[in-house]
Amino acid sequence: MDFLNALVVLSNFVLIPAVAYGSQLALGALGVTLIYGILRFSNFAHGDTMAFGTMLVVLITYLFQSWGISLGPLPTALLALPFGILGCMLLVLFTDRAVYRFYRQQKAKPVVLVIVSMGVMFIMNGLVRFIIGPNDQRFADGERFIISVREFKQLTGLSEGLAIRTTQGITVVTAIIVVALLFWFLNRTRTGKSMRAYSDNEDLALLSGINPERVVLYTWLIVAALATVAGTLYGLDKTFKPFTYFQLLLPIFAAAIVGGLGNPLGAIAGGFVIAFSEVTITYAWKKVLKYLLPENLEPSSLMQLISTDYKFAVSFAILVIVLLFKPTGLFKGKSV
């Protein structure tokens, strides 16, 4: 019984949140890694692209709510998501035409593109704050829990409860669908294959008649969709605040690099590695150990390795360790 209780506590506070957070990071990291693989630069504006897409979703959700449209137990944001993705695609395509394309034609060094993406980041940052303001927006509605603590306790008779929030369930399901679609696209369709070919070897791909502008176009479209989905899921699960999305840049990059930049599978693995380490290292283990250890060994402190304020330090430490010992990441990524 004690063991089961410990397991329930562990799932409730560590496993489930980490799986949800990991899915969000994985989707974000996929966007970063795709840009890196195809356009060959680290996109510093990715966090703010996520914020922009999410902002659109939030605004459309509010609009739908004012019209009385809802999805019943599911959050209305899911209904608004396609519109948000479309809007984000438009913005991203516009930035590509107006900004990035010039440097692509110049064959500028990657670091120049990184600096350019800093400029884009500034503009998007200002744009989002200008439109929706810098404050928290809660836009999750519908049923709050798939299973609540009380229901779980009644169901199992355990003294510890397990809650699964709707947003966590939706996050995982959506992430699985999106990732499956992405991999189907990359592996089965002609465009997807040409994208992979372009990423592997640009010269050979050009030689075999792949149109680079088309590849770039599809990359941006996919990245916009991924960013909006990732941002919306994160916003549903927590709240939407522009500055947090900017800060997400660090764990997202850490995930992409840990997995191996340019490698989609690596991005997903990296997302979960970062999320699980962040949650386990900043979790106070006292409650779990209480059930597992004999009574006289019970810990007196919280058994928290690092306070949650330092969760960035965790993703950073993992990043540094991976870079020192396996510079191309866990899965073999590029190193241009």
Partner: protein, 448 residues
């Protein structure tokens, strides 16, 4: 038009902006902007050293600036009575133990033969070391933070002069100047640790690593209350220039102010700001002279050679990683000095105000707009961009007022636009950056 005339013209133009502000708004406002612009120019010099000379992509400027600020508290503030005996030395011991653990782990990794035993050994050292560290550290912190938490709860600084004084002793105030070089040292130390791990990797990785370390430094400063009170801020730091109140009480000062046709209050604030500007200008000129000397020296030529072609420089027998580490530390130290100067100017340390957009990316903008690789360019960029950063907001407010003048007051669109004015400057800065990169990628004063 020769290049020198053009450059002098550009500087004169920027000077005009400040004079214009003086006439149109107030001289107080102009001097306030000038003081921060001087500090920003020093930061830009530091970033220019790293990016312009060596091509190192450091986006952790904020962290080094904040460390400089921390130094101002650790040096300039009064020591908190009893804090050191209560837990200060224990915290220090814990930090030494923590550092010893890391060193032991690195030594074990280097000395032991490769294999599973080494991995287990290293992890064991780290784990045991971590728990010992926490065991010593936590009680020490609790003891320090328990001392008068409403006003202190931290270790305080090393300004023993301020603790001992009974009346106004100038030396206690001037002591805070010592914090500037110490801020540089603190930033240099942090840069050494980061450089050791992240330099030699690809440029993007260095960017991510520095971005991360800056966030971590800010997180530490926000949460470690024993260090500098965290988000509760430390205020009332001593300042190297006289207080306005003291000036207003001095009969000779009031007399001189009246002779100039100023009232004592305005004159005192102006005088204080001018003194600060003088101090900062001295530092800036010193830095500029040193940076110019470095640029023209064989060392500077080597740095640029490494930047332009690492492989060729390596073939000539240059140790690229070592040189990169060197210049990374130097540039970060300059940012640290500027950070300490900024906290001295503010008279308080507020970790919550350190924002990457303001303290990292804006400095980058200064370097790129001014002209990366050219010290004068970086300084010019520092003045110009900081001026814009401050003045875009009133300009934007004016613009929106004009644009929405047809709408009635209280109109939701008008109100929303007015609230958004503060964020216009982010957009403006982004647009400036993109325009410069596109049409004049070498900046206003290009590298020779």
């Amino acid at each position: 038009m020769s290049e020198t005339t053009k450059n002098i013209g550009l500087f004169a133009l920027v000077a005009c902006l400040f004079v214009l502000t003086g006439f149109m708004q107030s001289w107080n406002a102009s001097l306030t902007i000038l003081n921060m612009a001087l500090i920003s120019a020093i930061m830009a010099l530091g970033v220019n050293l790293q990016w312009g000379f060596a091509g190192l992509f450091n986006v952790g400027v904020m962290g080094f600036v904040a460390l400089g600020g921390l130094a101002t508290v650790l040096i300039g503030a009064k020591p908190v009575e009893g804090a050191w005996s209560a837990g200060g030395f224990q915290i220090l011991l814990a930090l030494v133990l923590g550092a010893a653990t890391v060193v032991a782990a690195i030594l074990a990794y280097a000395k032991l033969t490769k294999g599973r035993m080494r991995n287990i050994g290293v992890v064991a050292i780290l784990l045991v070391g971590f728990f010992i560290y926490r065991g010593v550290f936590d009680p020490g912190v609790a003891a320090v933070e328990a001392i008068n938490p409403a006003t202190n709860g931290n270790l305080g600084g090393l300004n023993w002069l301020a603790a001992a004084r009974d009346s106004d002793v100038r030396s206690a105030d001037l002591f805070v100047l010592l914090a500037w070089p110490v801020g540089g040292l603190l930033a240099a130390g942090a840069a050494w640790i980061i450089g050791k791990t992240a330099l030699g990797l690809r440029s993007d990785y260095l960017a991510i690593a520095t971005l991360g370390i800056a966030e971590i430094i800010i997180a530490i400063m926000k949460n470690e209350d024993w260090l500098a009170r965290g988000v509760k801020n430390v205020s009332g730091l001593p300042r190297p220039v006289p207080y306005e109140v003291t000036l207003q009480d001095s009969a000779s000062f009031v007399e001189r102010a009246n002779a100039l046709g100023l009232d004592a209050t305005t004159a005192s604030t102006l005088w204080v700001k001018t003194l600060y500007a003088g101090l900062f200008a001295v530092v800036l000129i010193l830095m500029l002279i040193m940076a110019q000397a470095a640029l023209k020296s064989p060392w500077g030529r080597m740095m640029r050679a490494i930047r332009d072609n690492e492989v060729a420089a390596q073939a000539m027998g240059k140790d690229v990683t070592k040189r990169h580490l060197q210049i990374f530390i130097l540039g970060s130290a300059i940012c640290g000095i500027a950070g300490a100067m900024m906290t001295t100017l503010d008279g308080q340390l507020t970790p919550g105000t350190y924002q990457p957009l303001r303290f990292t990316f804006l400095i980058w903008l200064m370097v790129i707009v001014g002209g990366s690789g050219n010290n004068f360019g970086a300084v010019l960029g520092g003045f110009l961009i900081y001026f814009l950063w401050i003045q875009v907001e009133p300009m934007g407010a004016w613009l929106i007022d004009v644009l929405t003048s047809g709408l009635a007051d209280g109109n939701p669109v008008k109100e929303h636009l007015k609230d958004g004015v503060a964020y216009m400057r982010l957009m403006t800065m982004g647009i400036v950056l993109l325009l410069v990169l596109r049409f004049s990628p070498r900046g206003l004063i290009p590298e020779k």
